[in-house]
Symmetry: D2
Subunit: 301 residues, 4 copies
Amino acid sequence: MDIGIIGLGKMGGNMAERLRRAGHTVVGFDRSPDSARDVDSLEALVERLPAPRLVWVMVPAGGPTQETVKQLGGLLSEGDVVIDGGNSRYTDDLVHSEMLAPKGIGYLDAGVSGGVWGLQNGYALMVGGSAEDVAKAQPIFDALKPEGDSGFVHAGPVGAGHFAKMVHNGIEYGMMQAYAEGYELLSASPVVEDVPGVIKSWTQGTVIRSWLLDLLVLALEQDPELADITGYVDDSGEGRWTVEEAINHRVPAPVISAALFARFVSRQEDSPAMKAVAALRNQFGGHAVHAVAKGEAEAPA
Amino acid sequence: MDIGIIGLGKMGGNMAERLRRAGHTVVGFDRSPDSARDVDSLEALVERLPAPRLVWVMVPAGGPTQETVKQLGGLLSEGDVVIDGGNSRYTDDLVHSEMLAPKGIGYLDAGVSGGVWGLQNGYALMVGGSAEDVAKAQPIFDALKPEGDSGFVHAGPVGAGHFAKMVHNGIEYGMMQAYAEGYELLSASPVVEDVPGVIKSWTQGTVIRSWLLDLLVLALEQDPELADITGYVDDSGEGRWTVEEAINHRVPAPVISAALFARFVSRQEDSPAMKAVAALRNQFGGHAVHAVAKGEAEAPA
Amino acid sequence: MDIGIIGLGKMGGNMAERLRRAGHTVVGFDRSPDSARDVDSLEALVERLPAPRLVWVMVPAGGPTQETVKQLGGLLSEGDVVIDGGNSRYTDDLVHSEMLAPKGIGYLDAGVSGGVWGLQNGYALMVGGSAEDVAKAQPIFDALKPEGDSGFVHAGPVGAGHFAKMVHNGIEYGMMQAYAEGYELLSASPVVEDVPGVIKSWTQGTVIRSWLLDLLVLALEQDPELADITGYVDDSGEGRWTVEEAINHRVPAPVISAALFARFVSRQEDSPAMKAVAALRNQFGGHAVHAVAKGEAEAPA
Amino acid sequence: MDIGIIGLGKMGGNMAERLRRAGHTVVGFDRSPDSARDVDSLEALVERLPAPRLVWVMVPAGGPTQETVKQLGGLLSEGDVVIDGGNSRYTDDLVHSEMLAPKGIGYLDAGVSGGVWGLQNGYALMVGGSAEDVAKAQPIFDALKPEGDSGFVHAGPVGAGHFAKMVHNGIEYGMMQAYAEGYELLSASPVVEDVPGVIKSWTQGTVIRSWLLDLLVLALEQDPELADITGYVDDSGEGRWTVEEAINHRVPAPVISAALFARFVSRQEDSPAMKAVAALRNQFGGHAVHAVAKGEAEAPA
């Protein structure tokens, strides 16, 4: 079937390719003239698609997605369906859906997992929206998802797909941090001599085997002591939203929040909080503080 | 080759069976007469094994393992090797090794992962000890481990195997808690209507796919709302040791410790700490406390 | 000077009393006819005040405060000032301030601390707004605050007062939990025989002496083992907002969030997350789970 | 009365001074010839004291204290009492007590709080040991403790004093971190313009007023943005022991452990754990990593 894809970056470009390999006709648009776009405007994209149209939005969450959906609302017609496959917050979906509904334009939110490996392995899809709209896009979902009986779920009404993806990412934060703490402890212990070997040994037969663990093995094969990179870790928004939603629903989330905070710390040059602790210890105990200028301990005044 | 196995419980019994299927000759001993033991004493076990002997100890960590190793020290001879495959703390290994060394008896510590699925899939093995002793037991390790090029590592000298297994279990705590927090958040949100479906969808193509996730899918197929079990979770010791070793080595372990503490909380009828917080709020704000007798909020005196 | 107070509950009523003792003329309104109100409507309250009027809103945060401020916007005149002394989120203040500004009505947000002890000791006040509006209300602030040179701050523009109060409460969560964890550990150790005595000893000369500690001593004098209350702890919103603002500003907040999550846990009958962990352990290890019906461990099927 | 004090550093020297001001006769020894010592050996110290002797040990915990107590065991006589006022782990006390008991030498462990302010304000004392031994030293305790009816407790048998002091310090870690997180959040928010002013305002009338808060005010008066110190924070052992004892007693300690881990992080040049997380994100998502050499983001290979 025909589908328009807006946004041909790392994710959108690969998804277009996977859909074409499956026999679908993709009309791609990207605002960059240097992209492999098929048309040079949203208007042209809409014109190239037969009605009822299916348009997959794959641009950065927040402003760019909101603006794109708004523009599509002015271009599409009754019976068309917009799919937001980006990492939008699920609350945006409710806004988008209500914006399009009066014109009879359907809306689906699709959480997508798979990263750079998705082209080859398929993308896991968590979808929110009406059964009717999901049915219209099902051939597309079938082509994008991995083979087998998993990798796709119609999670609930509009918003459910991005909510599920958000939780997926929150879990991802926690799992990565768990592996990372274990890695650091192995590295810190003098008794373990072959840290990459231990981690590789875990990839078969253990309780903690996983795809992430396989990737850690790959990373350690390339750089056994991770000597070439720094411990600076960005966060994309979904970890933050997961903790916020946990708070909204009164769900304790000590592990996911610890993983999130570890990323915040990783990006600080120095910690204002720990300056305050150092200052307090100096005040009550005369404990030496590390002066900024010298970078070394000195006796308090 | 020939091997003695001491302890024929859930783990030891299955390991004996896997070794026999691989063509090895196993002499099994268990202190219980109701077990499938081949001999009724340690002495008999030692007599039945040709020298140099290989004896695998698979009894509870702590006292039982310590006592068994001590007794073996009196029965075995130069060139024999004792393997502790239980969940001993790695510091015990150093004691055991030094106890046996004067008699020329070798010692290996083997961290074993795989649970009840190990008979079929193989057991991941993390081994500590000398290269010479490891070589003597290699055919046994090869039979126990899963197929493929992973699932076994000679991690370092005595203690390294159990240290690696301890870290493995610490990671396991963190991963399980990450999934659990995600599960609770999905369940708490009204927008996600098919929680088991979402979790099953994650098993292919996602960043968080893993064997533990597969098991969560199985558990939810049997009991979609986990209505038949309570949230009471034991801990086996290795999670505690992981946090203690993290402290020893000044390694931050917020995720693993949060997972450990969540288990402590899960086993409390009521929390003394939260009683103290409730008492404080009552003192400064006149906030209602929940009286024990009535179990409901009442105005403070 | 004259001031109107809306809301004569535990806080508002005591504040009115403290202001009267200081010689100010208070016109009190509460929607409850059973309160000690001076007038029976907002309209009457506004009429009784000489211009320029000062009106202190002390009703529950959220809807009630928003509605009250909106109504006041329709009743007050240029040069009057509204003070929100409740526990509003600071983002509400920006809305309120913009709503009143076109009519020339000033707006101040005042974070208030002190609880039931404020009548006697004074209330700490953190105020946000313009210097001009603060000056108008200064005599009121001076009467409410404790004696001495602290207890009042003009923290910044509109919103700064409630932001500061929110952070104050977040710190309060962390401090209470720190004491509570210490209390539980003392209680758990067999070596410490006089737990209330230890805690009382800390109230002089130690690094951790504080008013909260004094209150814990009082609570333990009334109930040395906290036997009469349960560990069920509400949270008022400001702890949640503190963590959310920490996330907004990328500030690591492991201690405050841990304290918040402990409260969530304290209110759960059972933990869905820990059910999931128990289910996982049962799946991979055959570990016994606690069945709901029996409340005791049983072997897995 | 007469007392010997071993160790005349920051703490021991001030305590000797406070005792002398109270009319007691102090014989001080320190291994450093540059100290204000009265005698130049332990033997001389013992000789100068009338029997039954009271000797206060105030040297670093661990090896130095253990060695000193051992030597005293060889020099003292039946009826004498040794008091360990250092920051020893309570498990050391049990060893020391058993070492001295056969000779009839009493033993007390005294947890001491007060820091550099103790000379002036008095030292809070938490004491473990027999009632008989406590009675012998009571005049000394009375002189050291602050005025008033608090500041001293006989917490239980040998070990109880140091256990109580350990918990005190654990609470201290949690409280400082709570203030520190609040300080960082205030500093991060653009709406609060007077951070030191807000914190000073909290010192009267609020729920979170405390001596530590007073010290934070002092620190901010000296350096309003804490610009002159770095966020590098040592830990003295008692925070580590608190978490370990919490684990021993299955007491959840999320706040105290978070505060401890924050100190570990504060001392790391780079975090091996966060390197691992960065490496994982690069593997699955092609997220840029920060190369060590350049210190800036670069596209993955």
